[in-house]
Symmetry: C2
Subunit: 360 residues, 2 copies
């Protein structure tokens, strides 16, 4: 296919395996090891397959720009620099966030197997994709997973302020069920994730009121104005407070970038991010019996879903359920992409001389 | 003073020490040990002194009603029933929540001193006051504290539902600073804590729109209607999702009451609560140097507070700062109480034959 096959606002459906194969080849062309390229490709394509397009392969051109300008090192490997009991401090050595965070969560799972619980603090990392991915790893290991991260650009004002002093720092909590998908809450502390504004900007779609303010503090539905303004914290002062606490436990704890030291993921591709994350696990077997817990979870999900619905509501969902449904459908039917995202990735594959059969 | 000294909507200012002394005597008159009575009195009076009246001594008549009707056991002592590495499961044996939760957080602090981090799961407990109190204990020990609890009555509907299926389950995160008060976020997952509706109902004050729906799902400013209806989750579906996750990690994890098994703290004084909590600590020294962290925290607080303010805003606050200011003022000037709260407590002291000098 050539660019002329598409018009703007076109959609294209691609088999998940094909997108995975092409993304892996692309990241290997950037100099990553096969193992690391697989890790990143799986993360991004899984996000798309779950319907979280803001954190999928639309970010690949952004990540490559950072490789090219020296902001992120595609070859770096994370390393444990301190280990005390059930805790560890990991230096990401400026690797991609997915590499540092996957390493960190695997370590947290291992530590929790030994000590019942764990806390792994990660510094000198980068934007790591979705928090959901990491707590899903924990849940699949029979654990409660917690994942906290500072976001990679200041876009929110403190409550009562007007300046971009904070990220809309997100977090996730995930747990396993028995016969149902893992229950996973992954939320940013703004009304919506900034990635959705970036996505709208890319596809020239307007955004709803209540998402963001422009640079002068006025409400806007223009994604371009929102991009340069501030996003609103969820629940007003509560979302602001939570964003600050997440910055503290993710970044101030281990001396990663915070506040005035933050660079802009989008606008400063040549600058080191020094992003901080925190991963925590609780081994459910340490507290109770895992199978008994899973049975209670299945019952809890049924209880919530069987509640009386408001007028016009067809179904009540538990956190992560819509994404799990999307993933199931994507595996079966392929992933639906906005064509702009595919064209950008194809252009990148051409630039990096990726063999034609590995191009989207 | 007699009841006739006051009219409704009167305020009365009482020295903190006096309220502490009288509350302690009252709980001892109910059969508690001196140590436990001190623990509960300190918790409640501190809440009032911090301006969190919804969780202060206004609840004492409620707690006493539960002692009298058999719902809570004033003499019970919590016990560790399982211990794996840095985790523990504590059975509260139906003690007051403050007793079980203080025991649990002290244990979590001890475990984190040894293992760098910890998770203590508490079952068979009761309403435990404010989450802030427990993470403040952790912060004072040089740790990051996390406290999660299921709330003691179902008052919120799932997103898309209309039934009272969930509590507005709260949580807190607390960290120490150097020269500034601990930074403590304590938030319920409803727009406001239900205690504020209970307080408004007690003082016949109307409530703002956006706090609650009546029993038919309509917005209300009448605290009586709100009391019997549902409270709105903070940030819509995000607050609902967080409330469910908190229920899972606090209560479903250790088989405490959830959903259909919840009793109503206010309406079922004869029934066992079986409330569940989760306490987690991270020893800051395990990850970084505590003093260096405290210095970064002082700088972070200054950075936030020195941000440009919106029109009409005099000061930007960090989480817990307003409460810390209130506490400082209360210690110096006494605690300002609505007279109804004092009269209720005095009546209780009379009923329990507390010596006159130990009555409010």
């Amino acid at each position: 296919m050539s660019n002329s096959d598409y018009t703007f606002n076109d959609k294209v459906v691609l088999p998940m395996e094909k997108v995975l194969k092409c993304q892996k080849a692309l990241y290997m062309a950037a100099g990553m090891s096969e193992e690391d390229a697989t890790c990143v490709a799986q993360h991004l394509v899984e996000a798309d397959a779950r319907g979280v397009y803001s954190h999928g392969i639309q970010r690949t051109p952004l990540y490559f720009n950072r490789f090219e300008k020296g902001g992120t090192n595609p070859n770096a490997r994370p390393e444990i620099v301190k280990k005390v009991g059930a805790t560890a401090l990991v230096d990401g050595h400026n690797a991609m966030g997915m590499i540092a965070a996957t390493y960190g969560m695997n370590l947290a799972i291992d530590l929790a197997k030994k000590y019942g619980t764990s806390a792994v603090s990660i510094t000198n990392s980068n934007h790591f994709g979705t928090c959901a991915h990491y707590v899903d790893m924990a849940a699949n290991a029979g654990m409660i997973g917690f994942c906290w991260t500072i976001n990679c650009v200041n876009i929110m004002a403190p409550w009562g302020g007007v300046e971009r002093q904070l990220g809309n720092n997100p977090f996730a909590i995930g747990v396993p069920c028995g016969n149902k998908p893992n229950v996973i809450l992954d939320m940013a502390t703004s009304v919506v994730a900034r990635g959705k504004i970036v996505m709208a900007r890319k596809t020239n779609a307007s955004i709803p009121e209540g998402w963001a303010l422009d640079i002068n503090g006025n409400p806007t539905t223009d994604p371009e104005a929102a991009y340069w303004g501030t996003v609103l914290p969820v629940g007003g002062y509560k979302g602001y407070g939570l964003a600050l606490m997440i910055a503290i436990i993710s970044a101030i704890l281990n001396n990663s970038s915070f506040g005035p030291d933050m660079i802009d993921l989008y606008e400063d591709p040549d600058k080191i991010q020094n992003s901080g994350h925190l991963m925590q696990c609780i081994d459910i077997n340490a507290i109770d019996n895992l199978d008994a817990f899973k049975k209670r979870m299945d019952e809890a999900v049924d209880y919530i879903k069987n509640g009386k619905k408001a007028n016009g509501i067809k179904e009540i969902y538990v956190p992560g359920e819509i994404e799990a449904n999307n993933l199931k459908r994507s595996i079966k039917e392929g992933i639906v992409y906005p064509v702009e995202v595919i064209l950008e990735n194809r252009k990148l594959a051409e630039k990096y001389d990726v063999p034609v059969e590995y191009r989207l």
